[in-house]
């Protein structure tokens, strides 16, 4: 069983990370930001899964997958908190546009 | 034997605290503390049997030495180490004198007297500490401890632009002291010393390569030079003096500037003789620049305090010159000059303060011919000015004489520069006296009285000492020479 091409794979996770970051930088809707962050997070999870599948040492794969499990849970939790914050902000300000929430500056 | 130095420190410390807490009776507490301080200094002099000389490893010794462990890092020993030699003893005497004179002079300070007198005492405490500290960190601690009270003295009790002046003072001197600390630490670490004690660092620094010594000395010099101050790092001084309250000015000129000179001698010249020898030409150039600049700029000053401030710069330039000569005569002259300048500039700033209190202004064109109205004040102004311009029989003369003689020994005809500047110095003092004291009366308000008794007492002490030490400078010089100024043994 031959492995998937390493470089090609890292291109994928790198691209996902880049897209996620790009979303964070460009979008103004908080929910879109949450999605962008999730995409970036998934890039990291993907890496763990990949390195669990293709590893140098004889059996380090399992921890990689275990980490991925934990991270999937973590990412979901993080989204929950983010949503709570966005709801609270929306309640006070009536908007979830992050560019409009710029009272604190300079 | 009594731990005299620690006793003095404790006295001053407790006294400062008591003054802060004493409320409206602060001045009495301050006076008692100052008297006690003076008495203890007298004890110190009585106890001082002379300089113990060099130790077996050729480290200069100190009298009244005390040393206790303070802070022990795994790679560094920091101790509470104090001691005196002739140089520091004379400057301690200056501290005690100026303290009591300033307390007396400021007797009727009305604005928060407890804080005012407390800060005065704290300044003197710091100065005393600097003069006795023989551990780099302890030294630096006291060095900084002078800064803070002076910052508040200027900033709270000062003139109209006091905030600017206080800030400027604080920043200038703090930046300098940080550079100085860095230089000292670099000496420690490059020499491989594992202790911050003077003797340990002194011994270790013998082994430093000349290039390293040269660079480190320059760093140290910068740190001390701002305190001196030398041109072009001097512009904080006129501002600070102009804005400071009189008591602050007196201590600023009398003590703080001396810290720079003392520091340079103790921690620069003694520690890094080779670097010092290499850098001497730079020091000379700066010293001459300072001498000329301070004096020439004085000529055009309208504000009495500014004038005296620039003349201080001029005098401290001579101190630097004397130190840079690297001869025993030069060091003797430098210490003597510092003492003389401490007394005389203290006196002059007091008179400037009194002029301000009495006439409401220090602007020379605005007030003049005051002699008939305030003869006592005029006399003080005159004595101070004459002493400052180096009239014999007053304290400025022996100092300047030795300094110039040493300059001749070291630099031959370059002595012309300070000599010519001596004339310029005379010129601006004479011009000032002509405008302020003589001529037709102008700008004197109707209700102007002569100085009150307490201001007179403060100045009187200084006048008496000006004359006493002017006639008998050997009282001081015999003490000064009991220190390693006889020349340092080579590396």
């Amino acid at each position: 069983m031959s492995g998937l091409p390493f470089a090609g794979f890292l291109v994928l996770s790198g691209a996902l990370l880049a897209v996620g970051l790009f979303g964070v930088l460009t979008r103004r809707n908080f929910i879109l930001l949450l999605i962008a962050i999730e995409i970036a997070m998934n890039a990291a999870i993907l890496n763990f899964v990949y390195f669990a599948a293709f590893a140098r040492a004889p059996s380090p794969g399992l921890p990689g997958q275990a980490i991925a499990v934990v991270l999937i849970g973590f990412a979901a939790t993080e989204v929950a908190v983010g949503l709570a914050i966005v709801l609270a902000l929306n309640r006070v300000k009536g908007s979830i546009n992050v560019a409009e929430a710029s009272e604190l500056k300079l | 034997m009594l731990p005299l130095l620690s006793l003095v420190l404790a006295t001053l410390f407790v006294g400062t605290l008591a003054t802060f807490l004493a409320g409206s009776r602060a001045r009495w507490v301050a006076l008692v503390v100052s008297s006690a301080f003076l008495a203890e200094v007298a004890l110190l002099f009585a106890d001082f049997t002379g300089w113990p000389g060099y130790s077996a490893q050729l480290v200069p010794g100190f009298s009244e030495g005390e040393s206790y462990a303070w802070l022990h890092l795994s790679w560094l020993q920091i101790n509470y180490t104090v001691g005196v030699d002739g140089i520091s003893l004379v400057l301690i005497l200056l501290t005690a004198i100026l303290q009591i004179a300033t307390v007396l002079y400021s007797w009727k300070e009305a604005k928060k007297p407890n804080a005012y007198f407390g800060l005065l005492l704290l300044t003197c405490l710091g100065s005393f500490g600097v003069f006795v500290a023989l551990d780099i960190l302890l030294f630096f601690l006291f060095w900084e401890a002078v800064l803070v009270p002076m910052f508040f003295l200027i900033g709270f009790w000062g003139g109209p632009r006091r905030r600017y002046a206080a800030l400027k003072f604080f920043i200038y001197t703090h930046v300098a002291s940080i550079v100085m600390l860095f230089g000292l630490l670099a000496v420690v670490f490059y020499s491989g010393s594992t202790s911050l004690d003077f003797s340990a660092v002194y011994l270790a620094a013998r082994g430093l390569a000349p290039v390293v010594q040269t660079l480190l000395f320059l760093a140290l010099f910068f740190g001390f030079a701002v305190k001196f101050p030398v041109v072009p790092f001097h512009t904080w001084l006129p501002d600070a003096h102009v804005e400071a309250p009189t008591g602050g000015s007196v201590l600023l000129a009398g003590l703080l500037l001396k810290l720079g000179g003392y520091g340079l001698i103790r921690w620069g010249v003694e520690l890094l003789p080779i670097g010092f020898a290499h850098d001497r030409s730079i020091l000379f150039a700066i010293a001459f620049l300072t001498i000329v600049w301070g004096s020439v700029v004085s000529l055009s000053q309208r504000d009495l305090k500014r004038l005296v401030a620039y003349s201080s710069i001029n005098h401290m330039g001579i101190v630097l010159l004397a130190i840079a000569l690297n001869s025993s005569l030069g060091l003797l002259a430098a210490v003597l000059l510092m003492f003389a300048h401490g007394i005389v500039s203290g006196l002059l700033f007091m008179t400037a303060g009194s002029v301000h209190h009495t006439f409401g202004t220090r602007d020379l064109p605005a007030v003049g011919g005051i002699t008939p109205r305030t003869p006592a004040l005029s006399t003080m102004v005159m004595v101070g000015s004459l002493a400052s311009l180096g009239l014999p029989a007053l304290i400025g003369f022996p100092a300047e004489f030795t300094a110039l003689l040493a300059t001749w020994d070291g630099l031959r005809y370059l002595v012309f520069i300070p000599l010519v500047i001596l004339v310029v110095t005379a010129a601006f003092y004479l011009w000032m006296m002509q405008r302020l004291l003589f001529g037709p009366v102008r700008g004197v308000p109707d209700g102007a009285h002569d100085i009150p008794w307490y201001e007179g007492a403060g100045m009187g002490i200084l006048v008496i000492l000006t004359v006493l030490f002017g006639i008998l400078p050997s009282l001081l010089t015999n003490v000064i020479v009991s220190s390693p100024i006889r020349g340092f043994p080579g590396p």
Binding site: L4, L12, I31, A66, I72 | -
Partner: protein, 162 residues
């Protein structure tokens, strides 16, 4: 190029494309749709990487729970579900920054890890054994994180009811 690689290439392309689309489309609900596709696509990749359990988990947690959560968020914060996203911060600077990161990542990998060995696929029981054995503290920590976020999130949201 074997089948696995071809599949991987296609799935990868889809992943990048759906991720990009989800962030670029203007209808927020379309965004959710594309995100769901992205998550499903990822779970397919996990299957390809001998992690079937993870694939399932991904489907459940992300394609299911997280997507619904996000949809819920949009519903609460928008008057109309099909509202369009107004202002965007598209511009050369963010693009340049992100591209630079990407280029760094890819260009630096001139040298691949040598001797990577494909591992066998793990049974869920192996995974759970590890997670409740040596990896236990991770789960424990995750639990604490969840406790914190849930209590915090509930608190933050609860105010709206008062």
């Amino acid at each position: 190029m074997n089948l696995e690689e071809i599949a991987f290439a296609i799935l990868a392309l889809v992943a990048v494309a759906t991720a990009t689309l989800s962030l670029l489309v203007r209808e927020l609900v379309h965004t959710i749709l594309w995100v769901a596709v992205f998550f499903v696509d990822l779970s397919a990749i996990y299957f390809l990487l001998y992690a079937p359990f993870l694939g399932v988990l991904q489907l459940g947690v992300y394609a299911g729970a997280v997507t619904v959560l996000l949809l819920f968020g949009i519903m609460v914060t928008r008057k109309r579900i099909f509202a369009r996203e107004a202002a965007t911060g598209l511009g050369p600077v963010p693009l340049g920054l992100v591209l630079t990161v990407f280029i760094f990542l890819v260009a630096a990998l001139g040298e691949l890890p040598q001797g990577l060995v494909a591992q066998r696929s793990y049974a869920p029981s192996d995974l759970s054994a590890y997670l409740f054995g040596p990896g236990g503290p991770w789960l424990l920590l995750l639990g604490l994180v969840m406790l914190t976020s849930v209590s915090g999130a509930i608190y933050l949201v609860r105010e709206g009811r008062e």
